[in-house]
């Protein structure tokens, strides 16, 4: 029963992470360009998604969006509830985490010396090429530690999908407690599973961190 819940927890986390990584990178990059409107748009996005509690964002995607956009409503009625819950969870967690990743990506790019960007332009690279071949490869490697904690936050945040009835790990934990009246055993098992996932993802990211460490930086071991 918990294993069935764990499966949805991991699937939602993985899909939301991919969405957040792509969108967060785009927004993070937008905030470091020299176009004022792009910077303002990116900042606005981050402020919007960071200043509303996650559970309220879940309710907005689950109740408000279908309520005010008729095509979404028609789609919701046509699919089964689980599909709708999954899509809502991935969209909600993906956009929420994207705001946090955008902040990290921006910080990573801005931590690079100004000369890196200038060197890219001096080599005749376009702005897109400078980001693709010079700035982003460095920035991503520098921000792996904060990305690790964001990944762990995302996995923990999947528990909030319980609020819209997605049968993820936390939902199954409560269900198990209510069916057997063995709350302590159920919550104990869930605690162990969540702690194990957090530990595993932490180790995995630490491995990645060592593999791609920038030689010459304090963090590099070689």
């Amino acid at each position: 029963m918990l294993a069935a819940g764990l499966q949805w927890t991991l699937i939602v986390a993985a899909l939301a992470w991919i969405a957040a990584f792509v969108l967060g990178s785009v927004i993070g990059v937008a905030r470091t360009t020299d176009r004022a409107w792009l910077v303002r748009l990116g900042n606005g996005y981050v402020e919007l998604f960071r200043n509303i509690p996650l559970i309220v964002q879940f309710f907005v995607w689950f109740f408000v969006v279908p309520g005010v956009i008729p095509p979404v409503k028609r789609w919701v009625v046509s699919v089964d509830p689980l599909t709708f819950q999954l899509v809502t969870s991935v969209v909600c967690l993906g956009l929420f985490t994207a705001a946090r990743l955008a902040e990290q990506v921006r910080a990573g790019i801005q931590s690079l010396a100004r000369g890196q960007r200038d060197a890219g332009y001096a080599l005749g690279l376009s702005q897109v090429q400078t980001y693709r071949y010079v700035l982003l490869p460095m920035a991503y490697r520098i921000i792996i530690p904060p990305l690790t904690s964001e990944l762990m936050n995302l996995i923990k945040n999947t528990a909030v999908a319980y609020s819209i009835g997605l049968t993820e790990l936390f939902f199954r934990t409560r269900e198990m407690g209510e069916m057997t009246f063995r709350y302590f055993e159920a919550f104990g098992a869930a605690t162990v599973i969540y702690a194990a996932i957090a530990f595993a993802s932490n180790r995995l990211m630490a491995l990645l961190e060592r593999r791609v460490a920038v030689p010459g930086y304090i963090g590099a071991h070689k």
Binding site: I52, P53, V56, F63, V64, A159, F187, Y194
Partner: protein, 229 residues
């Protein structure tokens, strides 16, 4: 579709909603103060030369930080009555209810996060400060109280306040225990009057306005503190 929305429901239920918001603010303030106190003690324990104490504190902090807040909220909801029972020796677990156990939950949970902030704050103080304090003959507790902690606290104030804004948002999770916090109040009205769209839009806008104002305040404070240094 938008024409169907009726926001007068917000005006009619405003006292009830403000009551919920007041509870949210109360929990936030109590947990921020309690969390800072316990978090500072935990940070001192983590940095202590006594290995068992340091390990115990680190274990507590890492456990709290690796499981979802929702799980912690339910843990305490079930645990607090049992612990109180064993403390007071009562025959049955006291019925303290989710409203009151939430205070304990958030103090204990935030302590783990405030601990890491205060630990970074203490570690950012130059070693010479601690050396100077003990050269003056101050005991460990006196040097912490008069020399280290005031500086650590001031350096970390923006981070502590940012964490408090996150806490203010996180309190909304207690609504899943049927507690009438701001979100809980909105949920109850939404279900009673079938005004889900209006209520959650209203809640989102209020949170956005409050948290945005608070975080720009913290940003201003940050630049102010940065000038002093």
């Amino acid at each position: 579709m938008i024409a169907d929305l009726d926001f007068s429901i917000v005006g009619r239920t405003l006292p009830y909603l403000t009551g919920g918001l007041q509870y949210t603010v109360q929990i936030t303030v109590v947990a921020a103060i309690g969390g800072t106190v316990f978090g500072t003690l935990l940070a001192m324990a983590r940095l202590s030369a006594l290995k068992p104490l340091a390990l115990a504190a680190a274990g507590y902090v890492n456990l709290m930080r690796s499981i979802p807040l929702l799980l912690v909220i339910f843990w305490f909801y079930f645990l607090v009555p049992v612990i109180l029972q064993s403390l007071t020796g009562a025959e049955r677990p006291p019925q303290i209810g989710a409203e009151r156990s939430a205070y304990i939950t958030f103090i204990m949970f935030e302590a783990a996060y405030f601990c890491e902030i205060m630990r970074a704050g203490i570690q950012s103080i130059p070693k010479g400060q601690a050396g100077a304090a003990s050269a003056l003959g101050l005991t460990y507790w006196r040097s912490m109280q008069l020399v280290i902690l005031p500086q650590a606290f001031r350096n970390m104030l923006p981070v502590l306040l940012t964490q408090t804004i996150i806490l203010f948002q996180d309190v909304s999770l207690v609504s899943l225990l049927n507690v009438t916090d701001f979100v809980g109040a909105a949920t109850k009205v939404a279900q009673r009057d079938s005004r889900v769209v209006e209520m959650y839009l209203f809640v989102a806008v209020v949170y956005l306005a409050l948290c945005w104002a608070l975080s720009s305040g913290v940003r201003r404070l940050q630049t102010k503190i940065a000038i002093i240094r």
